[in-house]
């Protein structure tokens, strides 16, 4: 193999199409489809006493209106995607509610019409009688449980989980110093620029269902649809075409529309499509970030953490479709890059009458990082020690890997850090940050994090050299902007000794590759990237084997360079991959393209059958990579900010990121991921909060009032890299997708506290919040 492409800043192969406006996002697909919309509950908690769709059905241009009673699966509870033994009171919604609604935005009816305009007109005429019930909003109110979200779930507790390493009570008691702290996180939303959309067609002649879905996991959707509709998996095709950003909400699976749209297509004999609008996106699509933490820390005179007790409430919303992944991640990631000899973490996942929660970029890690970093800052303040120094004294050292935390990780394994160099991250970040700018109300913030990436179970790849010499590769996972087609082409091109431009990668299309898990949790490069490498290596080995037979050379003396297999040291002796592809498929009938060479009279006969035992035709292979466990990336962010003491406007003067995701396949792509992540982190630190009122109404369900940063609010950042290769996978890579966002809240919060002298214990902040804090 060559190493031309690994680590190269290869410009993206995706760009041309997208720049010309020839992207194909799900709503771009019409093909005569009927359009649709959902009728959603305006109440956060109510009993439904009647639903009358007769007026809606009568609207000209309306083709069908469905309520739960019309669905064969109307009584089916949607699946709990990730069951867990501690999830003793898991609950999920049904496709369409008919008895009780538990969050504003819960779907009640589905209208299919000739156009969305007409569907919305008809939706206005759907009459639902609601009897409002008491509403539970905020995790604290949920936990207080004066009212229940589910009648059969006492205390609104979906799950409780306690983990302890060492003996925290004893260690706290004997610690020279102790502090108690409380931290609070408001809900936030991922808001990809493309909302969710589904398009489906049922072919009666082929008895085949085809679905385009703006999802992060087409293979899972396919599995679910085949089970639900009793279809063979081979008769269900799910494709994620171009997807305009995912960031987590699109890994939530089996939203009601993902079942309703295919169902309607099967019923009505015409394709059906559904595209959400931005307003419904805010309550219909899963949210995240709501948690409240109570912390007790014990430490010594040098600021070394001796014991840490964390007790937190996780706001799971009205249902628990995603199980306990978010609080499990938070619980596991609080210690971060630090030694915490005695650690106890308990969480309760609490129901509230709000949209269910599931991962949004960071997925519980931003909370964990904020808790640990602010706790260390607080210790530093009490002892009057420099904040960077406190961290140095607590870091896990580079010679302490593998480091077992003793707590559970989201893949069912335990948290074991495989590699890293946390002190180096900090020193480099401080060096890049430089001296404090002169001026009043300037503050410095610091945040270090560790991130579990590359979870399994596995991903796969298919790689094939065509008789033309071009290479096609496919994997099950889709891209939402992470440049998989470029990055995976680099990996394959290196193994096969070809140009990136010669490799065409397809992802997220079950027709091309039906096995896989999905794109989430910073796992694409690790799982699919390694699968690509392993599979391309298999193809390279086969190419060498065939070439070796032809050239009568030991395959070990062959190399793949410039589209050929050549004898090492004798560049004139070789066979092109195109020719080898022909030879790999013994044929009776030539069909052009050089295939004459593989016909029975042209080809050199080898002893035995044309296809040896166990051999398969074609220069192709299918392979898989299944990680033994997560591989652990890390990073340090540092910043200077200035806060106007009168208007409380935030100005970020300098922002640096030092980042370790092991070896980088394409630094351009990694930097893009970091820059985007930091921007979302800035949003989450100072602008973005989902403002629910006490009645469970989301008061800022629009881009006018949910404040996603424009360019004018996002600072330029400087990025430095450190590489501690992963020992766990052949490519030595670690995930990079979420890194940018994880510590931003901690960094900005710490910097603002330093600048203004106000205590920062919550996220997000805002000028109003700082005004109020400054008056305490």
């Amino acid at each position: 193999m060559t190493t031309r492409w690994f680590g190269a800043r290869v410009p993206r192969v995706e760009d041309e199409r997208l720049l010309r406006g020839r992207g194909r996002f799900t709503d771009d697909i019409d093909e005569g489809a009927l359009e649709s919309c959902l009728v959603r509950s305006p109440y956060a908690h109510a009993r439904i006493t009647s639903i009358d769709v007769s007026a809606a059905r009568a609207v000209r241009g309306v083709v069908a209106v469905y309520i739960a009673a019309d669905l064969p699966f109307g009584n089916l509870d949607l699946p709990i995607l990730i069951p867990h033994p501690n999830l003793t009171h898991g609950r999920t919604q049904r496709c369409l509610a008919s008895e009780v609604v538990r969050y504003a935005g819960e779907a009640v009816a589905f209208v299919v019409a000739e156009s969305r305009n007409i569907a919305e007109d008809a939706a206005d005429l759907v009459q639902v009688e609601y009897e409002p019930l008491p509403v539970v909003i905020t995790p604290e109110v949920g936990a207080a449980a004066h009212h229940l979200v589910h009648d059969d779930v006492p205390g609104n507790i979906a799950a409780e989980m306690l983990q302890e390493v060492g003996d925290v009570s004893a260690a706290l008691k004997s610690a020279p110093h102790r502090q108690r702290l409380r931290f609070r996180f408001e809900r936030g939303a991922a808001c990809p620029m493309e909302g969710r959309a589904v398009w489906a067609r049922w072919s009666e002649s082929e008895r085949k269902l085809t679905v385009f879905d703006s999802t992060q996991s087409p293979t899972s959707i396919r599995g679910g649809l085949s089970v639900l509709f009793g279809l063979s998996e081979s008769k269900v095709e799910v494709i994620a075409p171009d997807v305009g950003g995912g960031f987590g909400p699109k890994i939530m699976l089996f939203y009601p529309d993902e079942l309703l749209v295919p169902f309607a297509a099967m019923q009505l004999g015409r394709p059906v499509k559904w595209t959400e609008d931005r307003q419904e996106h805010f309550t219909a699509v899963n949210q995240e970030r709501g948690q409240v933490h109570d912390v007790e820390v014990g430490f010594d005179d040098d600021g070394r953490v001796l014991a840490l007790s964390v007790d937190f409430i996780h706001d799971t919303g009205a249902y628990t479709p995603y199980g306990l992944i978010l609080p499990i991640i938070t619980a596991a990631q609080v210690p971060g890059p630090y030694r915490v000899p005695h650690y106890r973490v308990r969480f309760r996942a609490v129901y509230t009458n709000a949209t269910p929660t599931s991962p949004y970029r960071g997925a519980g890690r931003p909370h964990a990082c904020f808790v640990m970093e602010r706790t260390l800052d607080s210790i530093a303040k009490q002892l009057d020690v420099d904040r960077a120094e406190i961290r140095r004294r607590n870091f896990i050292q580079p010679d302490q890997f593998p480091y077992d935390l003793g707590v559970a990780w989201q893949d069912g394994n335990s948290v074991v850090y495989d590699s890293g160099n946390y002190p180096a991250l900090l020193e480099k970040a401080l060096a890049m940050l430089g001296p404090r700018p002169v001026g009043d109300h300037v503050g410095m913030g610091l945040g270090v994090y560790v991130e579990g990436t590359g979870v399994g179970p596995y991903e796969g790849a298919h790689v094939q050299v065509l008789v033309s010499g071009r290479v096609v590769a496919a994997t099950g996972i889709p891209s939402q902007g992470q440049a998989h087609a470029t990055v995976f082409a680099q990996v394959v091109a290196d193994e096969l000794g070809v140009e990136v431009a010669d490799v065409e990668v397809t992802g997220g299309d079950t027709r091309r590759f039906p096995w896989g898990v999905g794109t989430f949790a910073s796992r694409g490069a690790v799982t699919a990237g390694n699968a690509m490498a392993i599979t391309a290596r298999m193809v390279a080995d086969k190419a060498k084997q065939i070439a070796g037979e032809r050239l009568e050379v030991d395959p070990a003396d062959l190399e793949l360079v410039g589209g050929s297999v050549r004898v090492k040291g004798s560049p004139g002796r070789g066979i092109t991959l195109a020719a080898l592809s022909v030879l790999a498929n013994p044929v009776r009938y030539a069909f052009g393209g050089g295939t004459e060479a593989a016909t029975q009279f042209a080809s050199k006969r080898r002893p035995g059958p044309p296809l040896a035992d166990g051999e398969q035709p074609g220069l192709e292979a299918t392979g898989y990579y299944s990680p033994p466990g997560s591989t652990w990336a890390s990073g340090c962010h540092a910043a200077y900010v200035r806060v106007d003491p009168k208007t409380f406007r935030l100005e970020v003067l300098k922002y640096v990121v030092v980042h370790d995701c092991g070896r980088l396949i394409n630094p351009l792509v990694v930097e893009g991921q970091i820059e985007g992540g930091v921007a979302q982190g800035i949003g989450g630190a100072f602008y973005e909060r989902l403002a629910y009122d006490a009645e469970g109404q989301l008061r800022n369900a629009s881009f006018m009032e949910y404040l996603i940063p424009y360019a004018t609010e996002v600072p330029e950042i400087e990025i430095g890299h450190i590489e501690t290769p992963s020992p766990l996978n052949p490519l030595g890579v670690k995930g990079a997708g979420e890194a940018g966002v994880i510590p931003v809240g901690a960094v900005i919060g710490s910097a603002i506290e330093d600048a203004l002298g106000v205590p920062v214990t919550e996220m997000p902040l805002s000028p109003l919040k700082l005004f109020e804090l400054s008056r305490l």
């Binding site: 406006g21 020839r22 171009d242 305009g244 893009g672 921007a679 996603i708």
Partner: protein, 151 residues
């Protein structure tokens, strides 16, 4: 109305938004819809050369005007427009959903200010949301686009 120089019959439904008309009646799906309240900028097109939100216009209002969409920046098979080229060189896009809106806004900006100052660039991209890039690469792309356009 003319779209990318080609005349089209007037739209018939008065409440059809220009964005939907372009996408679903004329098949020009390069213009995207992100919010339908004028904030995100994904739907930005040029109306008689000036950037406007196509989600905030009724299609009938475009009658008698020239609309330019991203598809009109470069004919199929011909080289990318300098602004498109610049975005590619500077990796000013990831998922590509906000990109057509940025491209049209930048084309409009450079038509008004061929030698934009940093402040003018900031103003020029200030009205478009991107959730993927963090904007730094987009700023670089606009600078590069100005360079390429002057060549």
């Amino acid at each position: 109305m003319k779209v990318n120089g080609i005349p089209h019959p007037a739209p018939t439904d008065p409440r059809r938004l220009l964005s939907d008309h372009l996408r679903h009646d004329l098949g020009l799906t390069g213009t995207h819809v992100g919010c339908e309240h004028g904030v995100c900028g994904c739907c930005t097109v040029l109306l008689d050369g000036a950037p406007v939100r196509s989600c905030l216009m009724l299609a009938v209002q475009a009658e008698g005007h020239d609309v330019s969409t991203v598809e009109g920046l470069a004919a199929p098979g011909s080289p990318l427009h300098p602004v498109q080229q610049a975005f590619h060189e500077c990796q000013g896009l990831q998922c590509g959903f906000c990109t057509p809106g940025f491209l049209m806004s930048v084309v409009g900006l450079l038509a008004q200010h061929p030698n934009p100052t940093p402040e003018q660039i900031e103003e020029g991209i200030a009205g478009n949301l991107c959730r993927c890039t963090g904007y730094a690469s987009i700023r670089r792309a606009v600078n590069r686009a100005a360079e390429l356009s002057r060549q």
